[in-house]
Amino acid sequence: GAEGHWRRFRGVGLARGFLHPSATVEDAAQRRQVAHFTFQPDPEPREYGQTQKMNLFQSVTSALDNSLAKDPTAVIFGEDVAFGGVFRCTVGLRDKYGKDRVFNTPLCEQGIVGFGIGIAVTGATAIAEIQFADYIFPAFDQIVNEAAKYRYRSGDLFNCGSLTIRSPWGCVGHGALYHSQSPEAFFAHCPGIKVVIPRSPFQAKGLLLSCIEDKNPCIFFEPKILYRAAAEQVPIEPYNIPLSQAEVIQEGSDVTLVAWGTQVHVIREVASMAKEKLGVSCEVIDLRTIIPWDVDTVCKSVIKTGRLLISHEAPLTGGFASEISSTVQEECFLNLEAPISRVCGYDTPFPHIFEPFYIPDKWKCYDALRKMINY
């Protein structure tokens, strides 16, 4: 049955939470470990009309559904998207919109992205799926050398702005080296593309719609651990959340905490711990767009608090926290009360059995925060 589609998980223990809708993530977690975060839904949005409870993959489906309804040129393609996708993000779309609009491609990431660029060059909307962010590397040349540079090198005669690449991203509890990666830093170094990472279903739908409509090629990374674990009220109708705008999700005065994707929920909890145990008030920022990133919001916050902690699952060296840290020390040097702290994955490939030790969990973040306060 469905297990036939999990070829990439060969040799790795299959997660019951993925395959069997009836099993909850909590059940699966108790058998091995408790999830390292608690998803905190945002309050029900009021300004976009009727809402429905959706998890992350359903909010992605909803965004794709809205896009294909509005834009007759839009097509969705990639490996296994036709039957609904290995994470069910495209369920129902082929039946609704037809096999010329939602279709499988051969197993070839460089082909998927190259093909998507070509569709976008004609002005049609191309929504490409890379099955796991860990497999985006064969497409690196097409993304960095072609998509990102198409407009610039042609003097704006041609562009592939209507290309969006979506890909599951980040740790999932048991993904190991090749089902857990967060490769945003590789792409951050590439002018010409946008890289966007949502923390929740509501954010995901609005940001994904903005990526699809944006006139520049975008990469949208979807935290796979949140596909089922995150559920909240999401508007049924389309709406946009702006790109390159970070969100201050909690105001504070003593420390600025910055993260994106799943890690936002970790630092939110760290903010509570800091309040409770240390009486420290934290300002929590979800960066949302990695490039071009919202320097002003982060700097404004650090000027206020004087302390900055950035956290991501990706390895420390060359991770995106280093870019934020470098820019903030340039812009806010005299405001800093302590060195900027980065709490990240270790400089190793993403391990399997050691995942609980590898990830930048709330205890590591809390400890780094405590040291910053006591500096």
């Binding site: 559904d65 039957f83 037809g98 491609t105 569709i119 097409q142 003097g155 006139k215 520049n216 071009p292």
Partner: protein
């Protein structure tokens, strides 16, 4: 396409709306009576595309149904266990009980289609496309004007006037023969040695020169090395240096053209070296599986810089790969403008009518160096080069044809040489005199809108130039 109503489409999926699949253009297995130029097609008896030896895997099996988690009551294909025929989904073939490896045939490879002999005489009159005089003259003048421009621009690099150049010597026939067989609106994705396609589409000399000089008239705004042409008006996508990247892109564009019922073909040029790249494999496979109206045009010119074909591949060139992907394929004499024309014309007609890819491998020879950074005497003999230059050149062969038709003579040749050289020199001198674009154009078009951080960097350069401007070649740039 009979679209579902907008209202239907806007019903959110979570309420599971039904929707009809849109009407499809005939696929490759439904060759209706879409053949318009039947008389022309019938005359091309000698021109034969090599069909892939196996019928499509899914022919006769219908579209494979995905295993359905949601609806287990849906029936799967019924298989009979009494039948001794193979049941594997992966191939449509008979059993064999003799152990035999298929031997690749490189000794007598796929034959090379040609219309003219090396002296420009038509071999089989029924293959003569009978192009009108104006069209043949346009072919000839495009090739010769390109040749003249190549000589002057190559020389200008040697003199330090432009930084880099690539000539097209010996391959002009592949460019104009194919370009002449397309509609002007057919989208072209090239590699870097297809300037003749633009020349045939009347891209002005001024713009060729502007790009090579990177001056204010360059449509590309001075961002790329010379010969990286592009023209939106003439449907020629801007060239990029990485090889073969254009191949899957061209396939995507063809897919979009098919969806839009544009009745256009996309043509994608690449060399036999680029065909070794992964992107080429990706492009071929996607074009076939997704049924795209695309012509893959491979210029097999014998060398990839210094690497001869014997070190590039071990099979029967690029044409032999087509059937492996399920692609109609042909090998042609690339120095025979009419052969290139006929093959491209027929490929175009069928690609659009049948929504399937075609592969044309045009055999030719790179008479010039790879580029101004190359000296090919380091890896091949002058004799070899001279043979092609003197004995089998697309321009000479077409000129012989023109002469034998009485459409050209020595006097017109002399006059045209003088005129074309004069045109090129005038454009060249003008291009030299023009300033370069304003340095602000270094910063635009990275994104459609300029990000805040980039604007800060732009302002930083402006301030820097205010103080240190004397150390920069500002006098050559537009203010």
């Amino acid at each position: 396409m009979d679209s579902p109503s907008l209202r239907e489409l806007q019903q959110p999926l979570l309420e599971s709306t039904e929707c009809e699949t849109p009407a499809q253009k005939p696929g490759r297995h439904e060759l209706g009576s879409a053949l318009r130029e039947i008389a022309f097609a019938e005359s091309l008896r000698g021109l034969q595309f090599l069909s892939p030896p196996l019928p499509s895997v899914s022919a006769g099996l219908g579209e494979p149904r995905p295993p359905d988690v949601e609806h287990p009551h849906r029936q799967q294909q019924q298989f009979s266990s009494l039948d001794d025929k193979p049941q594997f989904p992966g191939a449509s073939a008979e059993f064999i009980d003799k152990l035999e490896f298929i031997q690749p045939n490189v000794i007598s490879g796929i034959p090379i289609y040609r219309v003219m002999d090396r002296q420009g005489q038509i071999i089989n009159p029924s293959e003569d496309p009978h192009l009108p005089k104006e069209k043949v003259l346009k072919l000839y003048k495009s090739m010769t004007l390109l040749n003249t421009m190549d000589r002057i621009l190559y020389e200008s690099q040697r003199q330090g006037r432009i930084s880099f150049y690539m000539t097209n010597y010996g391959e002009e026939g592949t460019h104009v023969g194919s370009a002449a067989a397309l509609d002007n609106t057919d989208l072209v994705f090239g590699q870097y040695r297809e300037a003749g396609v633009l020349m045939y589409r009347d891209y002005p000399l001024e713009l060729f020169m502007a790009q090579c000089y990177g001056n204010i008239s360059d449509l590309g705004k001075g961002r790329q090395m010379p010969v990286h042409y592009g023209c939106k008006e003439r449907h020629f996508v801007t060239i990029s240096s990485p090889l073969a990247t254009q191949i899957p892109q061209a396939v995507g564009a063809a897919y979009a053209a098919k969806r839009a019922n544009a009745n256009r073909v996309v043509i994608c040029y690449f060399g036999e070296g680029a065909a070794s790249e992964g992107d080429a494999h990706a492009g071929f496979n996607f074009a076939a599986t997704l049924e795209c109206p695309i012509i893959f045009f491979c210029r097999n010119n014998g060398y990839a810089i210094s690497t001869p074909t014997s070190e590039q591949y071990r099979g029967d060139g690029i044409a032999a790969r087509g059937p492996g992907y399920g692609i109609m394929s042909i090998r042609v004499d690339g120095n025979d403008v009419f052969a290139v024309y006929n093959a491209t014309k027929e490929a175009r007609r069928r690609a659009v009518a049948e929504n399937q890819p075609f592969l044309i491998e045009a055999m030719t020879y790179r008479i010039g160096h790879h580029s101004t950074s190359d000296d090919s005497s380091a890896y091949r003999s002058v004799d070899e080069v001279n043979y092609w230059d003197k004995q089998d050149h697309p321009i000479s062969r077409l000129r012989h044809y023109l002469l034998s038709q009485g459409w050209w003579d020595e006097e017109q040749e002399k006059a045209w040489r003088k005129q074309s050289r004069k045109k090129v020199m005038e454009a060249f001198e003008q291009a030299e005199r023009k300033p370069k674009p304003n340095p602000n154009l270094l910063f635009s078009d990275v994104y459609q809108e300029m990000p805040a951080q980039l604007r800060k960097q732009q302002e930083s350069l402006a301030r820097h130039l205010q103080t240190y401007g004397e150390h920069y070649p500002l006098e050559h740039f537009d203010k």
